[in-house]
């Protein structure tokens, strides 16, 4: 993939046609993420989850398309932002474990010590979800360095938002990755808003991917609502990374249906914008394609939604019953003894 002066549009690339089983798995995962996020919103309103949260409804295709390319067995790692529930679930964190962590229970992924913004699942390659914008990018470079030195063929994927493209660590990390030809993949979820501010008000170039050329790496735009397209682009970036050619900046155009965080009703949205994006709902995009290809029926889809609703409901009940950590656990895991 040659470095382009301008970003390549995903329309110019052949769409991936994945096998029915992989498609079904990705669809199932997207339905799970959607259902989990909706439940989490309810639990907040019922004060069963405290603090804040950053939901990813609308962005599920990026999570599942990315996750389908990740192989923890070869040493792949992922870092992402606090809007990370979808990524954590798609990478393999059990729903129960996520729910328990959201509620601050001992059975949570971080034993209740981290919460929504610090989901970690080393077993599945998730080094962390990061509460500070941009913090994960330099760290993913470190994982990529290990892969380079140990020649494992592993890649380090770091996922971040459009707002991150304006913070210092973005620039430092892209620069270092390119200079050292690290197998890092910079995956930007451009959902058009950095907190309450529009992308256009905070960045002087039309696409985040336009910045790639300044750092000597290819910048590729992909339709973030199409899980198969995300998969295809990520696979290409992985192949490039494994060849020793270095990093890629992938910009997934996507949209979040909800506000930035719990307390944000998103009054800054342009009129009609949400409705436009709902027409390209990622679950709808993939399921309609599968139905057209004869791989899925409306009934089967409805069944998947029903079953998932029950699974998530059971996970919530289970998590509610779990105990809180004991007070003494506040002293655990500050140090390696």
């Amino acid at each position: 993939m040659a470095t382009a002066a301008l970003s390549e549009q995903s329309a110019a690339q052949p769409a991936a046609r994945l096998d029915a089983a992989t498609r079904l798995h990705m669809l199932q995962q997207m339905i799970e993420v959607r259902t989990v996020e909706a439940q989490i919103q309810e639990l907040f309103l019922e004060n069963i989850i405290r603090g804040t949260t950053h939901l990813c409804d609308g962005q599920e295709a990026v999570s599942v398309g990315m996750a389908a390319t990740v192989k923890p067995a070869r040493g792949d790692t992922v870092t992402c932002t606090y809007r990370g529930h979808g990524h954590a679930l798609a990478l393999g964190m059990p729903i129960k474990t996520l729910m328990a962590e959201m509620m601050g229970k001992a059975a949570g992924s971080s034993k209740g010590k981290g919460g929504s913004m610090h989901l970690t699942d080393m077993q599945h390659g998730l080094i962390g979800t990061f509460a500070v914008v941009g913090a994960g990018l330099p760290i993913s470079n470190g994982a990529a360095l290990t892969a380079q030195l140990k020649k494992t063929g592993a890649v380090a994927i770091t996922i971040f938002g459009d707002g991150t493209a304006n913070i210092g660590t973005f620039h430092e990390a892209l620069n270092l990755a390119a200079v050292w030809k690290l197998p890092t993949i910079f995956l930007c979820e451009n959902n058009l808003y950095g907190e309450y501010s529009t992308y256009e008000d905070t960045a002087p170039v039309p696409n985040v991917a336009d910045r790639a050329a300044a750092y000597g790496m290819p910048g590729v735009i992909v339709d973030g609502q199409d899980a198969e397209a995300v998969y295809a682009i990520m696979s290409q970036a992985i192949t490039r990374a494994q060849s020793g050619a270095g990093p890629t900046l992938v910009e997934a155009k996507t949209y979040r249906y909800r506000g930035h965080s719990r307390t944000d009703p998103a009054p800054y949205r342009h009129a009609g914008e949400l409705d436009q994006w709902l027409l390209r709902d990622p679950i709808r995009v993939l399921s309609e394609r599968m139905i057209a290809d004869g791989e899925l029926t409306e009934n089967a889809l409805a069944q998947m939604r029903q079953t998932t609703a029950k699974t998530v409901e059971d996970a919530v009940k289970w998590a509610i019953e779990q105990p809180y950590p004991i007070n003494e656990s506040v002293y655990d895991d500050i140090w390696v003894q």
């Binding site: 790692t77 080393m122 913090a135 360095l145 620069n175």
Partner: protein, 325 residues
Amino acid sequence: MPTITYREAVVRALNEEMARDANVIFFGEDVGKAGGVFKVTPGLWDTYGNDRVRDTPISEAAIVGAGIGAAITGMRPVIELMFADFAAVTLDQIVNQAAKMRYLSGGQITIPLTIRAAQGGGVGFGAQHSQCCETWFMHAPGLKVVVPSTPADVLGLLKTAIRDDNPVVFLEHKGQYAEKGEVPDGEHLVPFGVANVVRQGRDVTIVAVQRMIGVAMKAAQELEAQGISCEIIDPRTLVPLDMATITESVKKTGRLITVEEAVHAGGWGAEVATQIADETIWYLESPIVRITIKSGLIPFSGPLEDYVTPSKDDVIAAVQRVMTP
């Protein structure tokens, strides 16, 4: 026992640990081909090559972050910040990420990272290249903080730091790089959390680190002639901090002075003083005195920098003050 310099102790520790463990890697600005701006790490790049010793761009956040990520995924990185003051450029990576990731992950993350940096003044580099910054890191649980004062301690503590599975901030004093000292034969490791009683005494406990040990020793010599016997303690590591040795000493002497080349408010001296006040107050014969940088900020002009830095005379005056009923 051979005699080496403080800077030679650094590269010796790195050589030994890199030879011992192939996972130890080292990177920073101009540390490789140039051997470091303070000429502390010559020869490492020649020996180990670009895989294990790398020069980086001027990107402190990227450097520390790469160290964190490599540490999480199985390497034992040593990274250098050219000046400790530059830690401020990348404070998020150090105190929000390296210090906290293990806790926030419920113990899933281990970060065996060593961050080396040159701190301290007396060389005319001005306020942004001369501060002793240890307190920034003491206030971030999850980080160990090391402040060696002799070549033997540099050698032994840096080796321990590299072998420690926790993130360690290893603060060398740039004004001491040329100082000489004896190091034991063979492998020399110094554990964290064990203070060194540099000088035994009866009348007053003086706690100091790095360059201030030399200042305290000069004061102690003069005071001896006046019949006052000073005990000088070098904690060597501020996290973990060996309060047991300091407490035992204060119980003996009843008087405590700290000498810090640092900002007065909230320095490590305040921590030591408060812990003594917590647990050992009934043994004190006089108030605790903390000697620190007079202005907090370090001026450039030579006479001014000398003036603000704790001196032998400052220590003597403080001792006479606590000895006077």
